[in-house]
């Protein structure tokens, strides 16, 4: 081997080492490895069971997914679920933030709301599904109302906890600097509480997924929850798998989107989620 070839070889080795040492590359490599292991295990298990209606193989599930995508059904279901979540989430947040601020700021409102908070805390939104259908019908309203309920609750409570946790010295400092009480609320309390609001929104987003799926299973003609529940009638187990994986991906993506939005738009508020 010539000198230059040796040098090239050594350089290549260095390149490999440098690449492996880079945090990002290593994370992606481990991610791919982890995923491959799951698919392999799943394939083996499906082959061992040998009953596609009981446990479809990854291949069969992929076929099912492609089938659902080419017919446009999957996209429609995803869109239906996402729309419900988004509308309910936005309305719930819009009511939850002011409610939480009011509960945190006023002893009276906090004491007044306390029995309801303590009572409803233990009732999961799923418990209200049938009631929502009776009251608001089979249309979109019943599902959106349920998501509003779960979001509102989470956002309001987290906001309230945030307000109660603001160091009193921050408010005192602002008063000494010439701020009015209203200014203290707008320019000290609210910015100080933003991390708690975002935490509440993040939890609410997770809950919204659970709520929408259970509502769609009981009463809907569309949505990922409907897809999962309806597929059982035709024993299309691979479609159930497609629905579940889609849900996981939807959750992952919204969580990422929320995180990126929060950390870039609200970075100064030290939002950590």
């Amino acid at each position: 081997m010539t000198q230059t070839a040796l040098a090239v070889e050594r350089q290549r080795g260095a390149w490999w080492q440098a690449t492996w040492k880079s945090e990002g590359v290593r994370r992606i490599a481990i991610f791919v490895l982890s995923l491959s292991c799951a698919v392999l295990l799943w394939t083996l298990l499906a082959w061992w069971v040998g009953k596609p209606a009981f446990l479809p193989s990854p291949e069969k599930t992929l076929d099912g997914a492609l089938e659902l995508i080419s017919s446009g059904d999957l996209q429609n279901h995803v869109l239906a679920s996402f729309t419900r979540i988004l509308i309910g989430f936005v309305i719930g947040t819009a009511i939850g933030i002011p409610l939480g601020l009011a509960m945190g700021s006023s002893q009276f409102i906090r004491a007044f709301m306390d029995p309801y908070v303590e009572f409803f805390r233990f009732i999961p939104p799923i418990a209200f599904v049938t009631l929502a259908v009776i009251w608001f019908g089979l249309g979109e309203t019943s599902k959106i109302v349920l998501i509003v309920y779960t979001t509102l609750f989470m956002v309001a409570i987290n906001t309230m906890i945030g307000v109660l946790g603001v160091e009193p010295d921050k408010g005192f400092a602002a008063l000494c600097l010439g701020a009015t009480k209203r200014q203290v609320f707008l320019h000290v309390t609210i910015p100080a509480v933003i991390p708690n609001i975002v935490t509440g929104m993040k939890i609410a987003m997770g809950n919204s997924f659970m709520t929408v799926v259970s509502a769609e299973m009981v009463a809907a003609k569309s949505g990922v929850g409907f897809l999962i529940y309806n597929s059982r009638l035709f024993l299309l187990t691979e479609w159930i798998f497609v629905g579940i994986i889609t849900l996981g991906l939807m959750g992952f993506l919204t969580d990422r989107a929320l995180r990126i939005a929060a950390t870039t738009l609200l970075s100064r508020y030290e939002v950590r989620i």
């Binding site: 160091e167 010295d169 921050k170 005192f172 400092a173 602002a174 008063l175 000494c176 600097l177 010439g178 701020a179 009015t180 200014q183 320019h187 000290v188 910015p191 100080a192 933003i194 100064r268 508020y269 030290e270």
Partner: protein, 280 residues
């Protein structure tokens, strides 16, 4: 009748008259009972004076400051600032807090200093000038765009000082501002504060438990007794020229204060022991 100008009559800037402060105990075996934190506290600070309040930990020094700041009313007695009864926090009294929980961590150095001016709708060009000057005075140039968590402990205390200076208050209330700093940084901050005070001549109430710090900074030093029912034990003048150094006079004053405060520290330690043994 001869006319006396307002300046000639030097009304004290801060007057505390027979102030008492009680709290309700919130925990422990005697929960709900009244706890007398301060009893019969009387002193006054004249305009432009640097007044140190010295005492053992937990004696109620901060409570005195909080009453003057208007965060907390006295249970009995009076707190007057420039002849007027204190009822609420006001812009004439700025507070530099212990630790940095009072900084606005979502605002940069520049924005923290600007806060008071912005709340009061001071026009933008003037605001910019005052902020730049305050930042320069405390030596934080180059850190305008850093957030508080990107500053060192000493820098954060400087930021607190810059923030109150921008508002140009008549009275500065400082609650152990350098208590959490290391010895080196504290020494530098003490010099800086002397320099700033010499150029701006504010009335200062400075709370500390450090005898040397009080002697380096104060025109007068008030020694508090240990709580409960803490009060002013003695007020000492410090007739030393600035900038101060540790010399014979300094040491003599230090001995005097030390003797006075030692009893109080012993007393407060005995109380802690008693509390521990009675709690068992």
């Amino acid at each position: 009748m001869p006319t006396v100008s307002a300046h000639a009559v030097s009304l004290p800037d801060v007057e505390v008259r027979k102030a008492y402060r009680t709290f309700l105990k919130k925990a422990g075996p005697d929960r709900g009972r009244e706890y007398v934190a301060l009893q019969d506290v009387t002193f006054s600070i004249s305009s432009g004076e640097f007044f140190c309040l010295l005492g053992p930990s937990g004696c109620g020094k901060s409570t005195v400051l909080r009453m003057i700041a208007g965060f907390l009313p006295p249970s009995a007695g009076e707190v007057l600032v420039r002849g007027k009864r204190v009822e609420a926090p006001g812009m004439d009294r700025a507070v530099v807090f212990q630790g940095d929980s009072a900084l606005f961590n979502w605002l940069t150095t520049y924005e923290n200093v600007e806060f008071g001016l912005r709340m009061r709708n001071v026009p933008e060009p003037m605001r910019r000038r005052i902020v730049a000057e305050s930042i320069r005075l405390v030596g934080l140039e180059g850190f305008e765009h850093n957030y508080p968590n990107q500053l060192s402990g000493g820098m954060r205390q400087r930021l607190q000082i810059a923030r109150v200076l921008a508002n140009d208050p008549a009275i500065l209330l400082m609650d152990e501002p350098f208590g959490a700093l290391d010895a080196q940084t504290r020494g530098i901050m003490q010099q800086e504060l002397t320099r700033i005070w010499s150029s701006r001549r504010k009335t200062v109430l400075f709370i500390t438990h450090d005898i040397d710090e009080s002697l380096l900074l104060g025109d007068r030093v008030a020694i508090m007794t240990a709580g409960p029912a803490a009060t002013i034990k003695k007020v000492l003048a410090v007739p030393l020229a600035r900038p101060r150094e540790v010399g014979d006079d300094f040491l003599r004053l230090r001995r005097e204060i030390k003797a006075a405060i030692e009893d109080e520290v012993m007393k407060s330690m005995r109380q802690v022991d008693d509390a521990n043994s009675s709690g068992r």
